[in-house]
């Protein structure tokens, strides 16, 4: 088994699931070492928060009047604003009603943020991180030679669909096109960065100065599996408030629970330096590296086993 670690001490062979847990632990240890070596501060921010970032399609699990965070993003950006230029966190994130072969309602996310960087810098750093993890853990499927493929959303639509991102946003078919027509082709044999999303789909990302209809956002795919989402951060509190309002309107229109506006975050945002940040699914990374077909294979216990 790729990445197997020698002996448990009692000399007995481990089950496949146990092997994967050792493999997963090694991945997480390598991730930590990578960021520590580059001068990143590891932080832990509260899981239980009063105001999740308003997102049209992500619901937070209620927790005693507040909510469990769906991502540590808002807290991480407040820490950037407080004067920490390089931060990372590996933590649990919680999302309602997300369960499938690639989803767990509770999962592990790696997020890292770097002041003075943009999304292109983060793509390069992601290549370096994954290269180091693959190197320490027995390799990865496919070819990791850099640079990896970079494809804009517009190019991906032109290649794999009969429509455009704008047209499919207008007729409501964007998510289906991405999920069923585009994603399965991405990252085959070599990882792919899908970049430059329509600005409406990146409420927390900065728009491209040369093309404001598009945001400096990217997603990483490997063998059709979505691994990470990163962007140049929007640092304008006024624009961020407007984008949050749009997300809240979309939530209300879909009958979803309203969340309070994250005022302390908006207050701090004006002090945040130019930065870029990224969220990477650790379970997904392990799935890809280990060749697991289901996320259940790379976690210690699934919710159904509890």
């Amino acid at each position: 088994m790729r990445g197997a670690t020698p002996g448990t001490g009692n000399g007995e062979p481990r089950s496949a699931r146990a092997e994967r847990l050792w493999f997963r632990a090694r991945v997480v240890q390598t991730i930590r070492a990578f960021f520590v070596a580059r001068g990143y501060l590891e932080v832990e921010t509260p899981h239980r928060i009063p105001a999740p970032a308003p997102e049209a399609h992500i619901d937070a699990v209620p927790a005693d009047g507040w909510y469990l965070h769906t991502s540590p993003e808002l807290a991480m950006k407040r820490l950037l604003a407080a004067g920490h230029p390089r931060l990372f966190q590996v933590c649990r994130c919680f999302r309602r009603a997300e369960r499938g072969r690639r989803h767990l309602p509770e999962f592990t996310m790696l997020e890292w943020y770097r002041a003075g960087a943009d999304y292109r810098d983060l793509m390069a750093e992601t290549e370096a991180l994954v290269g180091e993890v693959a190197g320490a853990c027995g390799g990865a499927p496919g070819d990791l030679a850099r640079p990896w493929e970079r494809l804009t959303v517009a190019e991906a639509f032109a290649r794999h669909t009969a429509t455009t991102p704008e047209a499919s946003l207008a007729d409501g078919s964007f998510d289906e096109r991405i999920a069923f027509e585009v994603e399965p082709h991405l990252g085959r044999g070599r990882p792919t960065f899908l970049t430059d999303y329509p600005a409406a789909l990146a409420a927390l990302a900065r728009r491209r100065p040369d093309d404001p209809a598009v945001a400096e956002r990217f997603e990483l795919y490997a063998e059709g599996l979505e691994l990470a989402n990163g962007f140049s951060e929007l640092a304008d509190p006024a624009e961020q408030r407007l984008r949050f309002e749009e997300e809240r309107r979309a939530r209300a229109a879909a009958g979803r629970d309203p969340y309070p506006m994250p005022e302390p975050f908006l207050a701090d945002l004006g002090r945040m330096p130019e930065a870029a940040g990224i969220a990477l699914g650790v379970d997904r990374l392990v799935m890809w590296l280990a060749g697991a077909a289901s996320i259940d294979e790379v976690v210690a216990l699934t919710p159904e086993e509890l």
Partner: protein, 189 residues
């Protein structure tokens, strides 16, 4: 009947769509980053057997199918209709020869079957895996035939014809696999 939300969809659930009962054969939860949840379902029409693929979104809601399986006893047929009886209520219902399909060849007196009903109307029958039927017509076994695996066609009491080993005689009872229609073994008594 119950109403399901998209988040409750799973394999095995029975839904009514456009007046027809469907069984979810497979369900995949798909959610592109920052996008909406999509529920990709493979559905089988429980009446016609045809499969369709449908993608649903959160916010969609579904009617559960009024489908029931009842154990009933086969009574008789008049060529066009096959009559079954519920042994608890003595209620009888009829299934057309068309709906029975090949299952009609494996019915024995008082055989217990599972009748599938949609909105109280029969849409299908499931037989036990094996039934015992009497051979009513067979050419006799010739003593000189020593070649192995020789088969001959016989007819059983329901009019069904099938190949059996050459040693099977007229008047004997045989066990048939109702899923394949094939001979399994001779049965004594």
């Amino acid at each position: 009947m119950a109403v399901y939300s998209a988040g409750e969809l799973r394999k095995g659930l029975k839904l009514e769509i456009e007046g027809q009962p469907y069984h979810i054969v497979d369900m995949e939860f798909v959610k592109p980053g920052k996008g909406q949840a999509l529920y990709r379902c493979r559905l089988r029409n429980m009446v016609t057997g045809t499969q369709v693929d449908r993608t649903y979104r959160s916010g969609d809601s579904f009617q559960s199918a009024d489908v029931e399986e009842r154990v009933m006893q086969y009574l008789y047929n008049d060529g066009a209709f096959y009559t079954f009886m519920d042994q608890k209520t003595y209620e009888q219902l009829q299934i057309t020869a068309d709906q029975m399909g090949d299952s009609k060849y494996f019915l024995t007196d008082n055989l217990e079957v599972d009748v599938l009903l949609f909105r109280e109307r029969p849409i299908g029958v499931t037989l036990p895996n094996f039934v015992v039927l009497k051979v009513v017509r067979a050419d006799p076994f010739a003593k000189g035939d020593t070649a192995t695996n020789v088969q001959k066609p016989v007819t059983v009491e329901t009019g069904y014809e099938l190949p059996v080993p050459a040693f099977v005689e007229e008047g004997e009872k045989i066990q048939i696999d109702t899923r394949t229609g094939a001979y399994v073994t001779r049965v004594k008594g």
